[in-house]
């Protein structure tokens, strides 16, 4: 009971002016700072009041801090000094656990390895990529829609009905027809949930989990892509494994983009998730606002100053991939050797990434 009264007193004390009472201070110290937490107050109204007050205080403090920082910056600028260093927020990515497998730009062995790996024939333009897209045994609604979107994204991709063929048979067939990759869209409960990318003739097999799929027709204000060969953006594939996966993705697309088409396909890796986006961009010239007013003043100038801005329009599907396994050789679940498999004991930290 005594405690309760104490707390309510605490709550009340906030409103009062602080009295330098020795007894109270001592008591507070004995109880520790926890007694100050508003969540310990049981009366809801009081609690809400205290909480709001605390929040307000924090807000004011933060604003003060920001103002002080801005002032310091301004002052430094006026004095011509170096502005105080900008604070960089700590994120999971930039506090990533150091990894020795990260590729370095001066690694000769890496380049020598790249020259002879399975994708080099396609990436050196010796073979043009030709993709076979097929599905899992059962396939309905979102699966075919996703595949038709994929076909519009990847040039020279051909859809083949799965039928009842074994995947190994399909790989054999694709090899004979000189395809360079096979993509299998796996559907579960009418929703595509996995992607299997098989390099041919002896390239690795990557198994991705597919999530957050948004089809083209579900994207608001989506554009309609042209049939030009797209540009490809691969970001953040840093480690050896990431490098390999990146090269594998690269080998799906032709290596000579047609810049006229202004189409970009992005594979962005962040925390081991690979985000896929497909955009159309345009450079527009626009009269800049600041100089507009000037232009009005002196109207006799023939061409008012312009600036170019890039505008993006999203088209095509949007989805996220996560690598589950990378298998050496073509698809073989029973006898295959894995280059990388995700195992639960590898998740030792949330700051450890593999791509």
């Amino acid at each position: 009971m005594g405690r309760k009264r104490n707390l309510s007193e605490d709550g009340g004390r906030e409103d009062e002016e602080e009295k330098p009472m020795k007894e109270r201070r001592v008591k507070e110290k004995q109880e520790g700072r926890e007694s100050m937490r508003p969540s310990m107050i049981k009366n809801k109204e009081k609690r809400a009041a205290v909480h709001a007050k605390l929040k307000q205080q924090k807000k004011v403090e933060k604003r003060k801090k920001v103002k002080a920082r801005e002032a310091a910056e301004k002052k430094a600028l006026e004095l011509g000094e170096e502005p105080p260093p900008k604070m960089v927020p700590r994120t999971i990515e930039n506090t990533r656990e150091s990894d020795e497998t990260v590729c370095l730009p001066d690694d000769e062995e890496l380049f020598a390895g790249n020259d002879v790996d399975e994708f080099s024939a396609v990436l050196k333009n010796e073979r043009s990529p030709k993709i076979l897209i097929t599905t899992s045994r059962y396939n309905s609604t979102r699966g075919p829609a996703f595949i038709s979107d994929l076909i519009s994204v990847i040039p020279n991709a051909h859809y083949y009905k799965r039928g009842t063929y074994d995947l190994k048979k399909i790989v054999q067939y694709a090899n004979e027809k000189e395809f360079t990759s096979v993509i299998v869209v796996h559907t579960n409960r009418r929703e595509p949930d996995a992607l299997l990318v098989i390099g041919l003739p002896d390239g690795p097999t990557a198994h991705f989990k597919l999530s957050k799929l948004m089809l083209r027709k579900d994207i608001k204000n989506h554009g309609k892509p042209t049939s030009h060969k797209p540009e490809l953006v691969l970001t953040n594939f840093t480690t050896r494994l990431g490098h390999r996966v990146g090269r594998m993705i690269q080998s799906l697309f032709p290596q000579d983009p047609e810049f006229r088409g202004r189409r970009v396909v992005t594979f962005h890796n962040q925390r081991d998730f690979i985000f896929f986006r497909h955009h159309r961009y345009i450079f527009e010239t626009k009269e800049s606002k600041q100089k507009e007013s000037k232009g009005k003043k002196s109207k006799d100038e023939k061409n008012p100053p312009e600036r170019t801005i890039a505008r993006l329009q999203e088209c095509g599907p949007r989805f996220t991939l996560k690598l589950i396994s990378l298998q050496h050789g073509t698809f073989d679940t029973k006898g295959g050797e894995y280059e990388w498999v995700h195992k639960p004991e590898m998740d030792t930290s949330r700051r450890r990434f593999f791509l």
Binding site: E100, T101, D106, D107, E108, E109, L110, A112, G113, D115, V116, R240, H328, K334, G335, G336, E337, Y338, E339, W340, V341, H342, K343, E345, M346, D347, T348, S349, R350
Partner: protein, 415 residues
């Protein structure tokens, strides 16, 4: 709850391991000193070239004049000195057998320690086996210079199997018997002195559902040093089998291990512990007498294990494979002692156990100079990294210097 484990590399005892990768590079990893330092890549031999991809390697591990045999993808077999990487001899097997057959690559290589066909320090004997089943015993004369090497070699060739493809071959400790097995080939044992088949296994019976699993051996090893009659084989259908020649043609003990094919089997010196590595990177030790799991080697091993070796003296094993790490494990505690990242997919690893005694043979003065040279060399390395090829040739020179000193030292010893 965040799962945080701090894996402390407790350091490994002084050892020297040689790894072979798909670009044909041979990397020497050494852990030195009593301070239990982490092992480092000390030397790198060869230039990256995919056609020189190492398929098999074998080491004659002895104090005086050790030899290292390396089978390349191009069909060449090189005999090197594991001390400094000098090529002592190089012969070509493929051209003599099957010109133009691409899939007839070498799968097994063994370098004989003992005397055979009057071998001396200037020559050695090799047993190679190709995937088509051509076993080949070659007698190679070595010379100091590369030019006149490979000129004299006598060969005996025989066929191990009619069909199927050989995937594993091993020679027992006495070097008088060899075993071969593979896809569609039951394990068979050959007497190397007579070149005659001694024994062949019989496939296990159909299971209760009447399903027959096709024969597909992926790895095999003889169980103990002094007995050629017992051996362990791993199959593609993730089964490990113990065969006893003197008992029966079917496996004595067989058990399953996980769900991916067994890719590497290694024996311990005690004669009953075996180490098994599989296609998804699981490594475990078994007591083969009972078929019981002794324990798994847990670590962040994520790629298929291609090769496991036990150190002949220390309680340490090394594993390597497609995750391009050389991992060194303690056998007793099954803890990871250290992992070295070696950049390429690794095909095999060997331990050079006598290196410490060899180093001790070098008189202290010369060793000091050698170390001074080495430190200089390391400084050079840091300064000009980009000129690795130049630097490499320089290091070779240094090594040859050292070698000549060593031979001098040997001479003194003999005197």
């Amino acid at each position: 709850m965040p799962r945080t484990t701090t894996v402390e590399s407790s350091g490994c005892p002084p050892l020297r391991a040689l790894t072979f990768d798909i670009l044909g590079l041979i990397k020497v990893v050494e852990a030195k000193g009593e301070q239990k330092e982490a092992p480092k890549v000390v030397e790198k031999w060869g230039e990256p070239d995919a056609s020189r991809c190492v398929l098999a390697a074998s080491l004659v591990d002895r104090e005086f004049d050790p030899l290292l045999g390396v089978a390349r993808k191009s069909g060449k077999i090189e005999v090197l000195s594991p001390v400094n990487g000098d090529v002592r001899a190089s012969i070509s097997i493929e051209s003599q057998n099957h010109p133009g057959s691409a899939d007839n690559s070498i799968v097994g290589l063994h370098l004989f320690k003992g005397e055979r066909l009057g071998s001396s320090s200037r020559s050695c004997n090799l047993l190679t086996c190709t995937s088509k089943g051509q076993a080949n015993m070659t007698y190679v004369k070595m010379s100091k210079s590369l030019e006149d090497s490979g000129g004299e070699s006598t060969q005996t060739t025989w066929n191990v199997c009619g069909s199927g493809s050989i995937l594993c071959s091993k020679v027992d400790a006495d070097e008088s018997y060899a075993l071969f097995g593979g896809k569609g080939v039951e394990v068979n044992i050959w007497d190397l002195n007579q070149c005659a088949k001694v024994w062949s296994a019989k496939s296990p019976a159909k299971n209760s559902l009447g399903i027959f699993t096709p024969t597909w051996f992926t790895s095999a090893t003889f169980l103990c040093k002094d007995d050629h009659r017992k051996f362990v084989a791993g199959t593609n259908s993730h089964q490990v089998r113990l065969y006893d020649i003197s008992a029966q043609r079917r496996p004595v003990v067989s058990f399953d291990f996980r769900e991916t094919p067994i890719k590497a089997v290694a024996e311990d010196v005690d004669g009953h512990t075996i180490y098994i590595g599989n296609g998804s990177g699981d490594l475990a030790s078994f007591d083969i007498r009972t078929g019981q799991l002794l324990g798994s080697f847990l670590g962040k091993c994520s790629g298929s294990i291609r090769s496991i070796v036990k150190h002949p003296e220390l309680p340490v094993i090394a594993s390597c494979g497609l995750d391009s790490y050389l991992r060194i494990w303690d056998v007793k505690s099954r803890q990871l002692l250290s992992a070295v990242f070696l950049k390429q997919h690794l095909n095999s690893v060997v331990f050079d156990s006598k290196f410490s005694t060899r180093e001790a043979q070098v008189p202290p003065q010369q060793q000091d100079t050698y170390e001074a040279l080495q430190t200089e060399e390391e400084e050079e390395k840091t300064v000009k990294r980009k000129k690795a090829s130049k630097e490499h040739s320089g290091s070779k020179k240094l090594k040859t210097k050292k070698k000549s000193k060593r031979s001098k030292g040997d001479g003194n010893d003999i005197a």
